[in-house]
């Protein structure tokens, strides 16, 4: 694919209190890619994410989604195309039932009636949560709530899925289930995370953001294999974890496995 789904160029931003969070970020994602956005706390990751769907604007540089510049006129369309899943599912799920919550986004896009119900059902099926349609979100487990949070965004049929710390607070089984779901989705993914093994497992490409600028961009095994690079940017692999070993033993990425999961 030649045209990037997401194209960030020269993006710089300072908060109203004067704190400069981004110093000229350049980043492009092609369709179908899964990219990990790594970086220490305070690197500007959240600020960058909030620019991708136009929540924050007014700095220098530009963000383009499917070739469309993010601006006041395109805001509604950009927010459909860029689906952001926030870190705390309790922030994301604010309606009385799972169904209402998943319907919230598409309803804002003007969908009603049978079309809306179909969209909700499909989105919940894609994350394996269709049995929980009528439950209130606070009766679900944390892992289930995170899956529903992904569904709320999938229901808008986005071009790119942006996940903020998708594996945080999940037990190992929920973490793996979410990985299976993400691997099965046919959508471009930008995943903000501190969980380096998760990045290696899911994303072929990794980008390191530090001090408000992109400092590394390459295949995940190479980025994670560079001990000096990681140390320079306060990133650490878990004890005893060697990305080189995983790289040779990991099964090749297969779309078929993912499709079987959701189908």
């Amino acid at each position: 694919m030649s045209a990037p789904v997401l194209e960030v160029s020269g993006l710089a931003y300072a908060y109203p209190d004067g704190h400069q969070a981004l110093y000229g970020v350049d980043l492009a994602l092609t369709r179908g890619e899964r990219v990990a956005l790594l970086g220490p706390n305070g690197a500007g990751k959240t600020t960058l994410v909030l620019h991708l769907n136009g929540i924050l604007t007014g700095g220098l540089g530009s963000v383009r989604v499917d070739g469309m510049a993010v601006g006041r006129q395109t805001l509604q369309e950009v927010r459909r195309r860029v689906g952001v899943v926030f870190q705390d599912p309790d922030d994301q799920l604010f309606m009385p039932t799972v169904r209402d919550d998943v319907a919230f986004g598409p309803a804002n896009l003007g969908l009603r009636g049978a079309e809306l119900s179909a969209r909700v059902r499909q989105a919940l099926e894609r994350v394996g949560m269709e049995e929980y349609t009528d439950r209130p979100p606070h009766h679900l487990s944390f892992g289930q709530r995170r899956r529903v949070a992904v569904a709320t965004v999938l229901a808008m049929e986005p071009s790119i899925l942006v996940l903020d710390e998708p594996s945080s607070n999940l037990d190992p089984a929920s973490r793996r289930e979410l990985a299976d779901i993400l691997r099965g989705l046919d959508v471009t993914v930008l995943m903000v995370t501190h969980d380096l093994p998760y990045a290696l497992e899911l994303c072929e490409r990794s980008v390191i953001l530090d001090g408000g600028a992109i400092v590394a961009d390459g295949p995940t095994p190479e980025v994670l294999g560079d001990a000096e690079l990681l140390a320079a940017h306060r990133l650490e692999l878990p004890y005893g974890f060697d990305p080189a070993i995983v790289r040779t033993t990991r099964p090749p990425r297969s779309e078929g496995a993912g499709a079987a999961l959701t189908g």
Binding site: L50, N53, I55, Q76, R79, R80, G83, V84, F86, D88, D90, D91, Q92, L93, F94, M95, P96, T97, D100, A103, F104, G105, A107, N108, L109, P136, P137, H138, H139, S141, T152, V153, M156
Partner: protein
């Protein structure tokens, strides 16, 4: 996870009362309460009839009396206030088991107690037979301003989350040797309340961001699928206030 205040009031079931649309039940209850409040306080028999009406609703809805009684504890502050009235009110006094009580105070206490109890029991029956979400949909159907319904729906959604947060803060205080007793502990509790307020406020901001990210542009929430109430549902729901009204009119007539 939170303790789940949500399902403490609701009693799942398939009775005719459960199946009535929420908006009909809401109007029915408000009508009933207005009639009760407008009944002269000395028409004692009328209040007995009202209680009988609620009992009939409870039987049809298959709500046990114990279920209602336990939840009626919420009325205690009103009861305390009512019990104080005969002692503090002015006017002629009468002797009741050796204590001189104000006659008008006794009447006022009865008035407050009877009307409040009927209102509380009616509300408990409504809550027991209606899902919270349906209540919100009902309010929406009754043309309640969207913003108010939205505030109510956020309250329903986040009550558990905030209660859970409060519980964790209490455990954190106690884990560091804090035992609340006496006014000296009040500053600590006040600061905790302040911290909780700020955390809730920040959560509000994050929720708003999440809403914007999904294309929210202000105005009432577009969802909450609505069902139109059939005329027969309105007629069934009207039974309670209409019978109550007939009782009230008779009470005024025979006064």
């Amino acid at each position: 996870m939170g303790a789940g205040h949500a399902h403490r009031l609701h009693l799942p079931g398939r009775s005719p009362v459960h199946r009535l649309p929420a908006q009909c039940k809401l109007v029915g209850l408000v009508g009933f309460v207005l009639v009760v409040v407008a009944t002269p306080r000395t028409a004692y028999w009328a209040f007995g009839c009202y209680a009988g009406l609620l009992l009939a609703v409870a039987v049809v809805a298959r709500v046990r009396l114990g279920f209602v009684a336990k939840r009626a504890v919420v009325e205690v502050p009103v009861v305390v206030f009512a019990l104080l009235l005969p002692f503090v009110a002015q006017g002629p006094r009468i002797e009741v088991v050796g204590i001189a009580l104000s006659e008008s105070g006794l009447l006022s206490a009865w008035n407050v107690l009877a009307k409040a109890t009927l209102g509380v029991v009616g509300s408990i029956l409504l809550a027991a037979t209606t899902e919270q979400r349906d209540l919100l949909v009902g309010l929406r159907r009754l043309k309640m301003p969207g913003q108010l319904v939205q505030i109510a729906s956020f309250m329903v959604r986040y009550l558990d989350v905030i209660a859970d947060q409060m519980h964790r803060m209490r455990i954190a205080r106690e884990a560091r040797g804090f035992t609340p007793h006496g006014p000296r502990s009040w500053p600590v509790l006040a600061r905790s309340a302040g911290a909780l307020f700020i955390r809730s406020y920040e959560r509000g901001e994050r929720v708003h961001l999440a809403m914007l990210s999904r294309g929210y542009t202000g105005g009432p929430p577009p969802v909450l699928s609505e069902t139109r109430a059939a005329t027969s549902a309105w007629v069934s729901a009207a039974a309670l206030p209409v019978v109550a009204l007939m009782i009230a009119v008779t009470a005024w007539w025979t006064r």
